[in-house]
């Protein structure tokens, strides 16, 4: 029957400094626990598992005297890397962004998913595929981390370094995300309206989407990007606008919309993504590009002056044994350079060389393209990081002779599967 304590705190704060020390220690511990948890979560299982043999070699081959930062050195010296992953060696994007110069370029050049060119219409186009118009412009990776945003071209070189409204994309007063959060977007930078069109989402707020289907990645992209304000017009802390591209189910309506529809951007062909496919670095047959004169100004390859050469040209990689190959994995052989020529020239294995195709020599055997004799034109542009892919060479060839036409795409659709997916489109466009 004890009545409650009458005495109240008098001329003293209700919370003692000792209690404050305890509370602050608890807050620190909770915060750090949650940081470790998040770090573990962001260490996705199959991310960036770099084959250790190929990369340092390539590095040495390309840049033998480069002491800037070799990948191998960077790996050794990056304490965070060890700290975040005691057992599995993953190099993640934030750490990669600390790489400098050529090492960085080399690393980033290998992270994009590269579409194959559509030579045949894949089966079940309407059931398993999305279609969308490809904005004309520079394909690039956009990485936001540590209060800044960097875009890198296909060859790994930096396009822009800028503040953005992406999570952790700018140093602003109000903290948009914890410092370890980062994002990686697959984009096309469209010069005329200075906009980054996001065509795929690879990491969002540090969480990997590599192992997610395209269906999920597009859903996530459409629901998350606009939340951040990244789609707003440019401002002090947001230099470039980001935008999503309307994505359609690949039925008759969707194909027509993508093909003939008007968009804010200049179109450069159509992209087809298999809805079940994961994000895969390098060439993949599960993401395809198709172009014709109506939906692209760049159907046929141009030379450095922007003219379409009379003869088709290809860029191939020179191998140790003189073989000339495509960028595919495994590489496709298109020719061979004689030893004497190599010795006379300054060519080294790994160089990209440009050749003209001699139409009369080209043959298609069992659906496979063989180029026959090639005419050497010169070394390819220094900025190149890749040889042409087999599908590109093939597509360019057919484009000049018997192109795959829009009607062929339409004709391949299953007439029974048609008009029922309008609502699905809406969801994706949002």
């Amino acid at each position: 029957m004890a009545p409650h304590e009458l005495r109240r705190p008098f001329k003293r704060p209700a919370i003692s400094d000792q209690q404050r020390r305890r509370d602050l220690a608890l807050i620190r511990q909770t915060q750090q626990r949650s940081d470790s948890q998040n770090r573990a979560r962001r260490l996705a299982s199959s991310l960036f598992d770099l084959p250790s043999h190929s990369f340092p070699d390539a590095c040495q081959a390309d840049f033998p005297d480069n002491v800037d930062v070799g990948y191998a050195i960077a790996l050794e010296q990056s304490p965070e890397l060890e700290a975040s992953s005691p057992t599995v060696r993953h190099l993640d994007f934030v750490q990669a962004s600390k790489l400098k110069g050529s090492a960085a370029r080399h690393w980033f050049a290998r992270q994009l998913m590269l579409t194959e060119w559509m030579i045949d219409v894949p089966p079940n186009l309407d059931r398993d595929w999305y279609v969308f118009a490809r904005p004309a412009g520079k394909r690039c990776f956009v990485v936001s981390s540590n209060g800044s945003t960097v875009s890198r071209l296909r060859n790994g070189s930096v396009l822009h370094h800028f503040p953005s409204s992406l999570p952790n994309g700018a140093r602003t007063k109000e903290i948009s995300a914890p410092s370890h959060v980062y994002c990686i977007l697959d984009c096309i930078f469209h010069e005329p309206d200075q906009t980054y069109y996001v065509i795929d989402m690879v990491c969002w707020r540090g969480y990997s989407l590599y192992d997610c289907s395209a269906e999920f990645r597009f859903f996530w992209l459409n629901s998350k990007l606009s939340e951040t304000g990244a789609c707003n017009p440019p401002s002090t802390y947001h230099r470039y606008r980001f935008s999503v591209v309307p994505i359609y189910d690949c039925n008759r309506i969707g194909l027509h919309k993508a093909y003939t529809g008007g968009f804010a951007f200049v179109k450069d062909g159509l992209l087809f993504y298999n809805r079940h496919a994961h994000y895969q670095t390098g060439n993949t047959p599960l993401a395809l590009v198709w172009k014709d004169e109506l939906c692209s100004q760049y159907v046929l390859d141009t030379d450095s002056e922007g003219h379409v050469p009379a003869e088709q040209q290809v860029v191939l990689e020179l191998q140790d044994d003189g073989k000339l190959t495509t960028s595919d994995d495994p590489p496709i052989l298109f020719g061979c350079l004689e030893k004497e020529i190599i010795q006379k020239s300054s060519f080294q294995a790994g160089n990209f060389l440009r050749f003209s195709v001699i139409d009369e020599c080209v043959r298609i055997v069992d659906g496979k393209l063989e180029l026959g004799d090639l005419k050497f034109v010169g070394k390819a542009n220094r900025a190149r990081a890749f040889a042409d892919s087999y599908s590109k060479v093939f597509f360019q060839y057919t484009a000049r002779h018997s192109p795959l036409q829009f009607q062929d795409l339409i004709a391949s659709l299953d007439p029974n599967l048609d008009e029922n997916s309008e609502s699905n489109d809406m969801e994706m466009i949002d």
């Binding site: 029957m1 009545p3 009458l6 008098f10 000792q18 020390r21 948890q37 979560r41 057992t87 289907s213």
Partner: protein, 871 residues
């Protein structure tokens, strides 16, 4: 034995230690050998009017202790033991107890009523002893006042022990009728009336229905109010205690009585004896508490026109209430500032005035200002002090717009008074008032601070000077400095304090060295301010903080050199070590967390660690705790390098983990294990067997305070995350414990807020453990070891979702675990995940949550599940 028991009980209270010890052992032996007979002897002793009062009292006390304990688990055990006794034994004990209520010896009656209440607390919820209340009620009608008194007292204790749900309304009505009749003015016997009034205090919780009925409530309130006018002071005090309790329990039922209550309380405050007057003031303070809570709730959620409604009693009473409180301020006692335990009308009145200001805001200012202006320059120190106290009291609540002009004028006056007033009491209150000004009118959250770069220098000069004043004034000056500094916490590199930083630290260090720093908590206050100065230091002033490190280390070193201390000196040494370790902890956290200072600071790490280990060697709870926290901060700063200290530190870590009695020490040590896990990662492995053993023992212990258990579960997660698949060997121990705790916490009967809060802490700990374990095993070939646990964990998540009583923290953790499970188990868990409610409704709910932490966690889960299922 029956012959002997009296003597043993008397011996147990002997002044001779040997015979006391012997008696205690005999009692223990008796209890162990034959518990039923032990109980019968004790109850027989208590009931026997022939026996000496001291043996009877102790017999009753021991009886009570066989029925009840503080620790919940022990309490349950004792209840079970009683219930499992032979029915005839229980009946005999109860008969003896009821019989004792009629004893002419007051102490015997009072002891018996407490024991009866304990038994009732065990049996009534089991629907046993149904006749008890009937018997007690029939006692009430007996003529003998002492029986009536003892019975009312028993009813009071009974209401305290038993929860209101246990009694049916009919019984409640009868109890209340008996109690209120006993309180009535017509009751001639003061002892009976007092017992009834005190019984009502405990019975109020039972009166929910009666307070909802206008007539019954009117009657109860009338009787309580009449009792406040009783000629007997104890009855008046008890009646006011009832009013205070009613003000919190039945706030919403008070409207029609407030006028009368105001009159009664005002009379008591002005005329009655102090214990009564204090209760009368407390009535208004607790009305303020209620209204502050309600208005807070209004403020936080505008849609909350729910069940709580503010009646604005304080606002309505304001014109009369404020003058009444201001009068009390003039009734100060000489020297009350030097007396730690003092509590008088002036203090209570001032405190209540502060609460009133927080309740009504701006409206209080015009009512108080004339009093301040009238008195602040009077020659009588009481008037100056009262005016200053009134001013200090109203600084929290009113808007800055209202206060700023006044404070701008008053600030200079206050600074001068602190320097020049001849009276220490006035200076004490002035320094406190300055502290309140800095606390509420200065800092980054205040739009226009009353402190400018110009007056900042002057203020500092005065405060540093005042820190040389008598201890109680100096203590308040340190407190004022604390808030002044705190206001600059977010001011960045260009803190206006920077030029004075060195002087401030020097002044505070001098205070800690004063011979009289032990008085009025002065040394503690100086170190607390020093800590705040360190916390608010900037990159610019970091070098000065760095210079402080060897100074504080030297101080700590000196405390370790002292030898052959008396008890008193040892206590002082412990206190000082606690303060110094606390200060070092703050410094470590500050300097160790900034890249710019970390490297230079870490040169002290070896010495610091050595000092902390020596401090542990002179064991003391508080010091242990402070040193432990400091080590946690050091581990975080040192990272993997901390491994070199582990050998030396580990024994103390173990000691901390085994410290059941001082459970805060145990809790803090558990937290430090987490720090070390994150610092050392897999290098902690060699110590894990020991640590896990202690943690598992802690979890199984009934002695350890329950609040430590949630952090222990979280700590499992920290360990698993650090050592990865090496956690394998602990799975067979940890998983069943997590599983049973999960089952308990999923469906815990959450009767009250406190229990619900604990349940949620427990859930969070369990979920953090699961997260750590899953993430730790990720990418390991041993992932499949976790597969068997997945169904249960998903069930746990589903049941959390279905229970609908988790808080945001638990929600975030729970949905995160769903992601971790999917992430680590991958495709194998796909079908299981698809069957769970969590992966559908729960996840959807979290994805659309407004709480961005929950949303982020849900994003994670959604991603991980998608990967798992498509992968």
């Amino acid at each position: 034995m029956a012959m002997e028991i009296t003597q043993i009980l008397l011996n147990a209270q002997s002044i001779d230690a040997a015979s006391r010890k012997h008696a205690e052992e005999s009692l223990k032996q008796f209890q162990d050998q034959n518990f039923p007979s032990f109980l019968l002897s004790l109850s027989g002793e208590l009931a026997n009017n022939e026996k000496p009062v001291d043996s009877r009292k102790l017999a009753g006390l021991i009886l009570k202790n066989t029925l009840d304990a503080k620790e919940q688990h022990r309490k349950n055990e004792l209840a079970q033991r009683w219930l499992s006794l032979d029915a005839s034994v229980k009946a005999q004990v109860k008969a003896c107890l009821l019989q004792t209520l009629s004893s002419p010896v007051p102490d015997a009656r009072s002891t018996a009523s407490q024991v009866i209440a304990k038994i009732a607390g065990i049996e009534l919820p089991q629907k046993q002893w149904p006749e008890l209340i009937g018997i007690l009620l029939s006692n009430i009608h007996q003529l003998q006042p002492h029986v009536k008194q003892a019975t009312l007292e028993t009813l009071g204790y009974l209401c305290e022990e038993v929860s209101p749900e246990v009694a049916d309304q009919d019984q409640v009505n009868k109890i209340l009728t008996a109690v209120v009749q006993g309180m009535n003015a017509s009751e001639g016997n003061n002892d009976v009336r007092l017992a009834a009034t005190r019984a009502l205090y405990n019975a109020l919780g039972f009166a929910q229905a009666n307070f909802s009925n206008d007539m019954e409530r009117d009657y109860i309130m009338r009787v309580v109010c009449e009792a406040t006018l009783s000629p007997e002071v104890k009855i008046r005090q008890a009646a006011f205690e009832c009013l205070v309790a009613i003000s919190t329990t039945y706030y919403d039922k008070l409207a029609s009585y407030m006028q009368d209550i105001f009159n009664i309380t005002a009379k008591a405050v002005r005329e009655d004896e102090e214990p009564v007057a204090l209760q009368a003031i407390e009535f208004w303070s607790s009305i303020c508490d209620e209204e502050i809570d309600i208005l807070d709730e209004y403020g936080s959620d505008f849609t909350a026109d729910s069940d709580i409604h503010c009646f604005y009693f304080i606002k309505q009473a304001l014109p009369a209430l404020v003058p009444m409180l201001l009068e009390t301020l003039l009734k100060q006692e000489e020297g009350q500032d030097q007396d730690e335990g003092a509590w008088n009308i002036a203090m209570a009145g001032g405190t209540c005035l502060g609460l009133v200001a927080r309740t009504v805001g701006d409206d209080i200012v015009p009512l108080v200002m004339p009093f301040i202006e009238e008195n602040i320059t009077k020659p009588d120190w009481r008037q100056r002090e009262a005016a200053t106290y009134a001013f200090g009291s109203i600084l929290e609540g009113p808007s800055p717009e209202k206060l700023t002009p006044i404070v701008n004028v008053a600030l200079n006056f206050m600074l001068t008074a602190l320097m020049k007033d001849p009276n220490d009491h006035v200076k004490d209150t002035t320094a406190w008032t300055l502290g309140r000004i800095f606390e509420f009118m200065h800092g980054s959250t205040v739009e226009t601070s009353v402190i400018t770069r110009e007056n900042c220098h002057q203020i500092l000069t005065v405060l540093l000077q005042s820190m040389k004043d008598v201890p109680n004034v100096a203590e308040k000056a340190c407190g004022a400095l604390y808030f002044l500094v705190q206001g600059y916490e977010d001011s960045g590199s260009a803190s206006p304090l920077s030029p004075f930083f060195h002087d401030i630290i020097q002044a505070l260090l001098s205070v800690t060295h004063r011979d009289d720093a032990g008085e009025s908590r002065l040394r503690t206050a100086a170190y607390e301010s020093l800590n705040e100065v360190v916390r608010c230091s900037t990159e610019e002033t970091a070098p000065t903080v760095m210079q402080l490190v060897p100074v504080i280390m030297m101080e700590l070193h000196q405390t370790l050199e002292a030898q052959k201390l008396s008890m008193d000196e040892r206590e002082k040494q412990n206190e000082l070590q606690g303060l110094l370790c606390g200060c070092l902890q703050v410094i470590i956290q500050k300097l160790g967390s900034a890249e710019s200072s970390k490297y230079a600071f870490m040169q002290y790490a070896d010495q610091l660690m050595e000092l902390f280990l020596r401090v542990f060697a002179c064991r003391n709870a508080t010091v242990h705790e402070e040193a432990m926290l400091a080590i946690g901060a050091l581990a975080y700063a040192a990272g993997q390098n901390f491994v070199k200290y582990m050998q030396g530190f580990y024994p103390y870590l173990e000691m901390g983990l085994q410290n059941f009695e001082e459970y805060q020490v145990c809790a803090i040590t558990v937290g430090v294990v987490g720090d070390i896990c994150r610092a050392l990662e897999e290098k902690i492995l060699p110590f894990c067997d020991g640590i896990m053993t202690h943690l598992l023992k802690d979890l199984s212990s009934n002695l350890l305070h329950r609040s430590v258990k949630p952090p222990i579960f979280s700590c499992f997660g920290d360990i698993a995350l650090a050592i990865g698949e090496n956690f394998e060997k602990y799975l067979i121990y940890a998983m069943p414990m997590l599983q049973s705790a999960a089952e308990l916490s999923a469906h815990a009967a959450t009767v009250d807020d406190e229990m619900l809060e604990y349940t949620n802490q427990l859930r969070n700990g369990i979920l953090e453990a699961y997260s750590g374990i899953f993430q730790g095993f990720k990418n390991s070939p041993k992932t499949q070891l976790l597969m068997p646990f997945a169904p249960h964990i998903l069930q746990f998540l589903d049941s959390l979702y279905n229970e609908k009583d988790m808080d945001d923290v638990v929600m975030k953790a729970a949905i995160g675990v769903l992601g971790d499970l999917a992430d680590t188990l991958g495709t194998n868990a796909g079908p299981l995940i698809n069957q769970s409610v969590s992966s559908k409704d729960f996840l959807e709910e979290c994805l659309s949550s407004d709480d961005h932490l929950i949303k982020e966690s849900a994003d994670w889960a959604k991603l991980a599940i998608t990967r798992a299922i498509s992968g």
